[in-house]
Amino acid sequence: MTEVSVQGEKRNRNAAAEFTRPLLLSPSEDLAGYVMGHLGLTILFLITTTSVAAVFLIFYFVIRESLPFFTTGGGAAILARVREFFTDPGWYPSATEPRYGALALIVGSLYVTAGALVVAVPVGLLAGVFLSDIAPFNLRQICKPVIEILAAIPSVAYGFFAVMVLAPWLQTHLGFSSGTNALNASLILAVMALPTIISVSEDAMTAVGREIREASYGLGATRAETIINVVIPAGHSGILAAVILGMMRAIGETMVVWMASGNASRIPSPWWDLSQSIRTMTATIAGDMGETPKDSEHYYALFTVGLTLLLFTFSLNLLSEYLLGKARAGRGRR
């Protein structure tokens, strides 16, 4: 074998050729190294695949538990159930003639999410621009961690603030009949989405190369012109991803909307009336699940709501991954 010949050459006079350690080892000769190497790889692989498997299992479980909602009535009933679920605004699971129309819940979720984005996107993007291009270095070093603390506050604390502080304020100052309503939930969700939007959009704009900024300044552009014409277009994928991540935060949030939205499952009319109470998909699941017997129709209906929600966030997640990937690719090209 080769290692024998390496050993044999040990007494070579030429010191540069004197290799004292064998360069080739078969697994049997280096058993400990071989076993530890493969064992380590296997363990790390298993740990990583556990979380991947968890995602698939969640999908499997949610789909399995929601399918009976459509299939129990037999073939012809499936279409009727689908139509009822997506077009009926009435969610009356405990009525003598129960109705499982999730339209009001879906609209409610989209409603508070849109409301939150209307506030959080402009504020978040302006703050991101300020931090990336305008704020002096020291101020940025202070502001970023403080803003990120916003994301660390438990959502029930936000909910508490919504009920105890914001709701009475809305009632006394804006004259709303109920303080827990769509506006209240939207405002609190906006604050909760802000750290994500600020942080990710700031990263996207900071990542725009210094060369590109210099090119713009060198041609006589002011700071505002540079931000608008160069920095924001170059960082647009990351900025869009920031908005979508903020949107996911808002649409998936449960505790705050449960406490702040008023939980009335109806579509506001007129549609722009933010002072009305609404109910979201998340709050419905959290609120109803405790009193629902397993394997009842209501139980299956709640899982169907969950599946709808999961599909929303899943597609948003895919979209944000795609945009962030595009942003990274753009950065690599520079």
Partner: protein, 282 residues
């Protein structure tokens, strides 16, 4: 903070009359006026001194090369001329650096106008992720030119001046990022010319390019000479010898020698210069 940069021009003239004279004799051979003149100019990054009391005068329409080992302050000096160093936090200037007789570090300096009169080409080609056409139009549009006909004229003229027109005339609306490195750099030069500058600063414009692309940029510099005052920082001494009329040698932030290129490379008067150009250090 002391604000020596706001000291009126006249006082500084009187105070340091002796030093610029010394260089004026050596370098400015013809009667053309100095378009850029530094008097006791220093530049600091925090406590670190990047450029140390440099005095030199660059005459209008010439090509001036700045050479020197890495970290000698040549890029810092170049970037001070149109105040690109302002972007670096904690930076500070002292003394006078005048363009067309006006101290650019005066508080009243309008950076937009300064940078349009004193354009810059950077080390790495840095076109915007826009079309070739929009890259050229960036500066003119900032100046308020909106007419399509006028913009197209500018695009054609600048691309011709930058010797790029024949290669890209059919692809004006394609992304500038699809061009080769050498083409991108010529596009960046065209983009700089589009703001109609008097001075073009080039910060190692060929260091990211292959020899063929480099030769084309050098030809371009020779064509632009006279119409523009060009100051070029380069690591490549052959390049400095090929393209420039005058050469300045910087070392450790100081201006060691500044003379006609021919003289500086064949018969340098300072020992350090000779050591550097013969490759004994740096």
């Amino acid at each position: 903070m002391e604000t020596p940069e706001t000291v009126p021009l006249k006082k500084t003239d009187a105070g340091h009359a002796a030093r610029p004279q010394q260089f004026a004799q050596a370098a400015v051979t013809e009667s053309s006026e100095a378009v850029i003149s530094a008097r006791q100019f220093s530049f600091f990054y925090g406590a670190k001194c990047g450029v140390d009391q440099v005095s030199m005068a660059i005459r209008s329409g010439s090509v001036t090369a700045i050479i020197g080992p890495s970290g000698c302050g040549k890029s810092t000096f170049l970037r001070s001329i149109n105040r690109m160093n302002d972007l670096i936090p904690g930076s500070r200037a002292q003394g006078v650096l005048a363009v067309n007789g006006h101290n650019v570090y005066d508080k009243r300096t309008n950076l937009v106008n300064l940078r349009q009169q004193v354009g810059m080409v950077f080390q790495k080609p840095n076109p915007f992720a826009k079309s070739i056409y929009d890259n050229i139009c960036y500066g003119p549009r900032l100046q308020g030119i909106r007419s399509r006909g006028r913009l197209s004229e500018i695009v054609e003229k600048c691309l011709r001046d930058a010797a790029l027109w024949d290669e890209v005339k059919d692809d004006l609306h394609k992304s500038a990022l699809a061009l080769s490195g050498g083409q991108q750099q010529r596009l960046c030069i065209a983009r700089t010319l589009a703001t109609r500058p008097n001075v073009v600063l080039m910060d190692e414009p060929c260091s990211a390019l292959d020899p063929i692309a480099t030769a084309r940029i050098e030809d371009l510099i020779a064509q632009l000479k006279g119409a523009y005052t060009i100051v070029i920082v380069t690591h490549n001494m052959q390049q400095a010898a090929r393209v420039s009329d005058e050469t300045a040698f910087f070392c450790l932030g100081k201006l060691i020698e500044y003379d006609r290129t021919e003289k500086l490379f064949t018969n340098p008067s300072k020992k350090e210069t000779e050591d550097y150009i013969t490759g004994r250090f740096g």
